[in-house]
Subunit: 249 residues, 2 copies
């Protein structure tokens, strides 16, 4: 079920993610420090739980490969997905900075994570203000994404919500250069979509089918593939905001 610690594959200096154009470059000194800050790598199989609500993880992670999602549960088992984690995203900050996790994280596809020690965070803040600022930046961005998703669940209707979510995820994947070739699929089931949209599985299915029939998306390879990005954003009444460079830890 779960993955485990893997032999370290990437030196931070040669991190294949870090060099992508969307990410901010670090100074030599910072890069070197990050290399020391990094304490290992973690692999997680599809479906594995990376972080658990209610626990206090001693780690902080940067996603290197794969997709994951953050979620919360109600006592009776109803699940709400809060956001997705893609390469470059930082997860576990809440438990690092506060008492304990208030949400869980699960792998949507096989993931490779970069592991940092919570204990060293204080040292980082003391000696690398630029990196500290980056962490705050990433926290602010995460909040921004949840805000946007909140608007969607609270005020958009089913078709708009579905269109927004798919466009949003597609855009994030494209932004970090995840597609390369046209036609990659977002690795999720309709149950995941339902739990993100705040809808039932049945109604989600019927809604998605409308998008498929309108030839805006395909559903295949165990996921969702976008055909008409513009049309989706139009239905959702949403325009992606184009960040310049952004930090990565």
């Amino acid at each position: 079920m779960t993955g485990g610690m893997a032999a370290r594959r990437y030196e931070c200096g040669k991190c294949p993610l870090r060099t992508r154009p969307i990410f901010r470059e670090l100074t030599e000194k910072e890069l070197c420090y990050i290399g020391r800050f990094k304490s290992g790598e973690l692999t997680a199989d599809k479906g594995a739980t990376v972080l658990v609500e209610g626990t206090h993880s001693p780690h902080l992670y940067t996603v290197l490969q794969g997709w994951g999602f953050r979620y919360k549960l109600l006592p009776d088992g109803r699940r709400q997905i809060l956001n997705y984690a893609l390469p470059g995203d930082l997860i576990g900050l809440q438990s690092a900075v506060m008492e304990e996790m208030q949400h869980s994280v699960e792998a949507l596809s096989p993931m490779l994570l970069c592991v940092f020690e919570r204990d060293q965070l204080e040292d980082l803040y003391r000696n690398y203000p630029g990196l500290a600022y980056d962490i705050t930046w990433l926290a602010a961005r995460e909040e921004q994404m949840v805000d946007e998703n909140m608007l969607s669940v609270g005020r958009r209707k089913a078709l708009e919500r579905a269109a927004y979510l798919i466009a949003f995820l597609h855009h994030r994947a494209v932004t970090i250069g995840l597609d390369a070739r046209r036609g990659f699929a977002i690795p999720m089931t309709q149950q995941h979509m339902a739990d993100t949209l705040g809808l039932s599985l049945v109604h989600t299915n019927k809604t998605i089918r409308r998008l498929i029939n309108a030839r805006l998306i395909l559903w295949r390879d165990g996921g969702c593939q976008v055909l008409e990005f513009e049309k989706l954003t139009e239905i959702a009444g949403w325009a992606p905001d184009l960040h310049e460079k952004r930090p990565i830890l």
Copy 2:
């Protein structure tokens, strides 16, 4: 409509908020720096807009008095309230750290805000890692609150949502010592509640009435007063997490 800059009333060292037991104490040095970091005070009348989506504010605020709320709008005017701002909360971090605001902030009651300059943030990060850490802490907490609200809007049903929201706000107010005397009212209209819960005004009204008829709350003085906190949390399936001390900027 809007308020304006007021004569500075509070020295940070004598800030009546800061001394409340819930807030973490600062060192002498930090307190002194905050005093310099603070560039003034802002008052906002009830209904005034403090921050506007799409703009880039040069300021960052800590709420000293009063209630406010963060919200987003869809192109056609539908509104979703994301969270509320109470004394001790930091607002405007998104615009300070990133390009521009992705949400607006409006005063629910007359507010008094402590103003900080965005430009000095870099200096703060460089010289006061403890304060930088506090800012990250506050950002993580804000995200946590939106997460919780997201769970509510996505997965709870109307009555549960209303119970959760009221209990949540009541708990926050009590935590910062806002009630003193029993029986304060949360200063909001049912339209605000509707826009927070992701429900229509009419349905919100009928839902609230059920809570009133069950004698769990009162609706008066232009707001909501809690009678049976425990019962509300029970309906919502929610338990407030009790933070220890927390930072305030």
